[in-house]
């Protein structure tokens, strides 16, 4: 008898426990002014002025704002209201927004911009070091004007395209006099953005709260943003489905799950909002290796890749076949009028025969090492595919798997590869993205750059000329010529251009309303209450 009672009590106890604690934890992740977002990383440094990377922007762009942001119809003012360059390409003048305050209440002025540019962007920022290499000084005639002076002519087009990425402004009064690299604010940023940094529980979440004093009155519309750390991508889909999170960006939900997730009430799959964050799936080639130095071999490999299969099977349609080194998502520079390599195994085999690599008795011409970048499941899957595609033309590829750090070292420092697969980013302007994959003379150790030993004086000359051409039309024409040259000589093989996808709760409003949406400031984002 006593046992029965105990057991019944136990069951009832469990029921109460489930009832009371289970309900709140499954409350909608996007309601009541709070949005829970899946985040797959915890940046070591959360300061977007020092580390210009999407992983940092995803969180920090809501806190620290750049001078301008990209909209679907061009560059939009943010902390700068207007800008113009001089004819000699040596000065660039920014008019700054008035009435903006930092999260600690201090006013935002031109001095902050000058400080950020000279002390942070130019000397410390991973991308700014290249873009602002010729920046000599920033003058501040008044509190709302900043004049950038360059020692060499610098194309306005380049700087303007890079504004959202390289110009996050830091508060001078909190950084001046400190060791900028070690400033504790790098992990708890203070900015002018619509959200304020509240707390970070390592391994668990970041919490951002509404900035009531945001310069654009009436914004933001959400009380709280919570970035839940979910390093495991498979967990993100499950958490969305269970209502624990309201937004998963950057394709955190595996592509194969999208169809199913999209059917679920209250969730939608969104492919917009990444147009300016295009990733390029490329095959990097080590031109130091005898086989690879042969253009016919490179052409054969290009012909052996069935881009349509890659798009359909690996990207499940969420990508586009690449036609050349600049993605179609960059209409300003893109040209489709370049050499194309159709999927044609006969042609590929013929090219290899011509190149002087006949098949041996077992059908193998030669072997090589293939190093797929481990950063995305798509790059690894493409590695598996490429190995199969190559064996069809008699090239036996051995996949060498490394983790991120190992891959970085093997490909970009040790050059220990024949073919590698990389997901490179198109950064809005060929000067700071595409061309670094082709330009010769870059020191070893620089990642996502030409470390394949390709050297073509003609290409180098084009790149250098475009870098100092101030006239936008002429500059664009030079880059089109560059694309034709790259497609013909194949220093690398462009396979696909892909953007990410988001899965969001349907209760969210103003989602994906600009081409850099996940890394923009979300000041107008709304949650149905």
């Amino acid at each position: 008898m006593s046992i029965q009672i105990t057991r019944r009590n136990l069951i009832r106890g469990a029921a109460i426990l489930l009832g009371t604690t289970a309900l709140p934890s499954f409350a909608l992740a996007a309601a009541g002014g709070r949005l829970v977002i899946a985040s797959d990383s915890e940046p070591r440094n959360l300061n977007p002025a020092m580390v210009a990377s999407n992983g940092v922007f995803f969180i920090a762009s809501k806190i620290v704002e750049p001078l301008a942001e990209l909209g679907y119809d061009g560059m939009k003012p943010l902390l700068a209201t207007s800008w113009h360059g001089s004819d000699d390409g040596k000065t660039l003048t920014f008019k700054l927004r008035e009435g903006v305050t930092w999260h600690d209440g201090q006013p935002f002025t031109a001095a902050d911009v000058a400080f950020s540019a000279m002390e942070v962007w130019k000397p410390l920022q991973n991308l700014g070091r290249a873009i602002f290499v010729n920046l000599e000084a920033v003058e501040t005639p008044d509190d709302h004007t900043a004049i950038f002076r360059f020692s060499q002519p610098t194309p306005v087009q380049l700087i303007q395209n890079a504004l959202p990425v390289v110009t996050s402004v830091l508060p001078k009064h909190l950084y001046e006099g400190s060791d900028i690299k070690e400033n504790p604010l790098n992990l708890a940023p203070v900015g002018t953005g619509p959200f304020k940094f509240a707390e970070h529980r390592p391994g668990q979440y970041y919490r951002l709260t509404k900035n009531d004093a945001y310069w654009n009155a009436g914004e933001p519309n959400i009380d709280e943003l919570i970035y839940r750390v979910l390093p495991d991508r498979a967990a993100a889909a499950n958490s969305l489905e269970a209502g624990e999170i309201g937004l998963a960006a950057f394709s955190m939900v595996p592509l194969v799950e999208l169809d199913r997730i999209g059917q679920i009430d209250g969730l939608e799959v969104i492919t917009k909002g990444y147009e300016a964050l295009t990733y390029q799936l490329i095959v990097e080639i080590n031109h130091r290796r005898e086989h690879m130095a042969n253009l016919k071999v490179r052409q054969a490999i290009a012909h052996a890749i069935d881009k349509q299969f890659v798009i359909d099977a690996i990207f499940l349609g969420y990508a586009a076949a690449a036609t050349g080194p600049v993605p179609a998502n960059a209409p300003e520079f893109y040209t489709p009028k370049v050499t194309q390599y159709d999927f044609d195994l006969d042609k590929a085999n013929a090219l290899l025969d011509e190149a002087g690599y006949p098949k041996d008795a077992s059908g193998v011409r030669f072997s090589l090492d293939l190093l797929p970048a481990p950063y995305f499941s798509e790059t690894k899957q493409f590695g598996d595919y490429l190995r199969q595609a190559l064996i069809k033309i008699g090239i036996e590829a051995r996949i060498v798997a490394n983790d991120s750090a190992g891959h970085q070292k093997a490909v970009y420092t040790d050059h220990d590869f024949d073919l590698a697969i990389a997901p490179t980013v198109f950064r809005g302007d060929p000067a700071i993205s595409t061309t670094v994959l082709v330009r010769s003379g870059l020191p070893a150790g620089v990642s996502f750059s030409n470390q394949g030993g390709y050297a073509n004086p003609q290409a180098d000359a084009l790149i250098d000329k475009a870098a100092v051409t101030l006239d936008t039309d002429k500059r664009t024409a030079l880059y089109k010529e560059f694309q034709q040259l790259v497609a013909a000589d194949l220093p690398l093989i462009n396979v696909a251009d892909w953007s990410f996808t988001s899965v969001a709760a349907t209760s969210l409003g103003n989602v994906a309303n600009n081409p850099r949406w996940p890394v923009s400031n979300w000041s107008d984002l709304t949650v149905e209450r």
């Binding site: 595996p254 199913r260 598996d384 798997a401």
Partner: protein, 276 residues
């Protein structure tokens, strides 16, 4: 009654033997039934089972034949399990014998090394080792052995300690055999059988560790293993659950077979002792 007869009387042993024979047959016949690379793309991606006559279990995300992967996966899992256990037992027995026979400072030093390996979680060690060296079949085997050689080492040492006091060892010393020769030629063969009894546990552990490593993406990408199939299938767990369920069941069957077989052996041995 001979050993085989005693073994046959154990139902566990028989069940294990049957399971293992089936799986071993699958592994051995994999290249016959499914010649060529099991990772080759054979059809449309994500074909359901029985949808296509030539592909009875359908295809995975890249259109690879799941049936072929399953057969070749059995092969990889068994190779890894057996080689890792062999390496672990050989190294362990050797170190244990040296420690037990050498005694003194050698023993002390070697046993500290054994302890060092024992207190570090074996899976952590394997994970760190494979991440750092880069995954290949050999590396995975070594990584697993790193975490499982200490058991055999301790057991071998204990055995050796009891054997080395026996008469024939003293005799070998008297006739002037080199101590190392005595250790390897006279003592090791006697110390080995009890250590071999650990085989089934080590093989089973190795199979599971390999699967866990592959699941974390730390398997050799040039071959297919059940762990990598589960990891691959995990992404489509909701829409094509069988892609991770089937290799999972394969793993359970293999590990269970090894345990049952080991159980049968132990029982058969125990019966002999009981009778003797």
């Amino acid at each position: 009654m001979n050993f085989v007869a005693r073994f046959i009387r154990s139902p566990e042993g028989i069940a294990g033997l049957v399971l293992l024979s089936l799986l071993a047959a699958a592994a051995l016949l994999a290249p016959v039934f499914f010649p060529g690379d099991p990772l080759a793309i054979e059809g449309r991606p994500l074909l359901r089972p029985f949808e296509h006559p030539g592909l009875p279990l359908g295809t995975d995300r890249l259109g690879r034949d799941v049936m072929a992967e399953l057969f070749h996966g059995a092969r990889a899992s068994m190779i890894v399990g057996i080689s890792a256990a062999a390496v672990a037992i050989l190294v362990g027995a050797l170190v244990g014998t040296l420690a037990g026979f050498g005694g003194g400072l050698i023993d002390e030093a070697l046993m500290r090394v054994v302890e060092a390996f024992q207190i570090v979680p074996g899976f952590l060690l394997a994970l760190a080792f494979v991440s750092v060296v880069g995954p290949s079949l050999t590396v995975v085997v070594i990584a697993i052995a790193l975490g499982s050689w200490t058991g055999p080492a301790r057991l071998a040492r204990a055995e050796v300690l009891s054997i080395r006091e026996r008469d024939f060892v003293a005799a070998a010393r008297v006739i002037g055999m080199h101590p190392l020769e005595i250790a390897v030629k006279e003592v090791l063969p006697l110390a080995l059988p009890p250590v071999m009894a650990l085989t089934s546990v080590i093989v089973a552990g190795a199979v599971l560790t390999e699967a866990a490593l592959s699941f974390l993406g730390l398997g050799d990408p040039n071959i297919v293993t059940w762990g990598s199939m589960i990891a691959e299938g995990r992404n489509v767990l909701r829409s094509a659950a069988y892609l991770s369920i089937v290799p999972g069941l394969g793993l359970v069957a293999l590990v269970l077979g090894v345990y049952l077989f080991g159980e049968g052996l132990v029982e058969a041995l125990a019966r002999r002792e009981g009778q003797g």
